[in-house]
Amino acid sequence: MIPTLLTLLPAASADDSSWITFDIPSLMQNFWSATFDGLTFGSIYALVALGYTLVYGVLNLINFAHSEVFIMGCYGVFFTLSFLGFGPSAPNLSVGSIIVNLLLALVVAICASALTAFLLERLAYKPLRKRNAPRLVFLITAIGASFTIQYTIFLVRGPNPEPALTMFKSRPIFEVFGTFIYDQQLIIVIAAVIMMVITERFISKSRTGRGIRAVAQDPDTATLMGVNKEKIIITTFVIGGILAGAAALFYVMKIPSGVQYNGGFILGIKAFAAAVLGGIGNVRGALLGGLLLGLIGNYGQILLGNSQWTDVVAFVVLVLVLLLRPEGILGTSLGRSKA
């Protein structure tokens, strides 16, 4: 048993007295590449975090099955790519056909995730609301729904990850601070930011958005204003699904080998942590939390010299932030009624 245990620890060289070492020169050297990659992952976290935060806003529920809404999007991407005949190595395609393929995969992923979110709310949560179930029951149902979807996928696709399908070979396009920025990073960050801005505008400006905010702050009063609460709730789930579907495409672009029945779990937890870090229920908080979590994880990984540390560092920072600011960095401003 002892050798097994030891291998779990990060490889410490013989002259190291402690088993944690801080590799500051390496962080300095790789700072910008860690930053760009951290922002790329961070924008994926942020898109998924929005789904947690929006549903928490209107239902006061941590929708643990949101990670499965995300993974269904990943399967949407995977099946689209295998249908289009992609393999492990990237084919030589023109920019135009790459864009067409990406958009096709995006549409399928969004449909898959949004449909999953829709069915989840209709089949799992709505019946509970009709019976006035206590909040704990919603939470347990969320966990149950998460496992149900995971093991349904397991039953159909088996335990192994799907083969990695590569859409295109990521190429460096320009150099900033002596570090290359890759086209893939740029596509992901720009597309994610556009989606986040649209979501933020939609929530703050549109009629449905006002309804979502009203239900989040005071569901009964919202109803008295003529807001159809049920319609707002299902819309919120679908918006969360759309964003998770987009995140799924970006995630599969970044990690083609991650499509697996339980592949949404870790990412889901991180996105949830991002939502809490920024202030759950707060749309801008989800964006900030996602980006921060992406950056912190990447810096920590380089500083500590092992990719196993990414999640540890991210969660240690989360705990520290919450100790000082239990409401998250931006607080729950979209938030609950104080009454």
């Binding site: 006002r210 905010r213 009203a214 008295l224 938030g335």
Partner: protein, 237 residues
Amino acid sequence: MTLLELKNISVHYGRIQAIKEMSFTVEEGEIVSLIGANGAGKTTTMKTISGLLNPTGGIISFMGEDITKMKAHIRVVQGISQAPEGRGIFPAMTVLENLDMGTFGRKDRTGVKDDLERVFTLFPRLQERQKQYGGTMSGGEQQMLAIGRALMSRPKLLLLDEPSMGLAPQFIRQIFKIVTEINTQGTTVLLVEQNANQALARAHRAFVLETGEITHSGTGKELLANPAIKEAYLGVG
């Protein structure tokens, strides 16, 4: 014309019966007050009329139409608007956004501007504080906002649930004065109050509610003069 009619309405919370076979009407143009102590069923009655609670028996009709099964958010469009107990201000929305929420169910966007003018004329304070967040306002200001917001749906029937609750005396007088003004402008008002003195003085007709049942009814003046009510609700006798 009878605007609102409750016929043998019963409401239960689980096995506990909060309202027992209650019947009353509100005629067009009236101010009707429901007074009663804590737990008498006043707020339950209001929530049943606005549709947040479903009665376990009886019929509610509005303008001659049975609305017992109608969803709450549709009732607003039909012309029933409520300033809820505790005011229900959206804390993270500005005064203007809160007022705008009152128009959520409206199809005619054209009249909204006029109604906003009207609310600002009734409550100049709201115009001054348009950009302030609802959660940061004083209790009296929030109550003005709740009433103003309820008016933004241009209701036929305005339900006011304890508008004087937690307010300083000068605010209470002001709020009741404005309630009368809203009524003379043509909106029917159903008012629920613990502050019986003002509520009875302002009402055309009134009912006394005790543990889910109406025990007294009459014009506001009659009930104000009734010795039993004086003793129980007016703090004199």
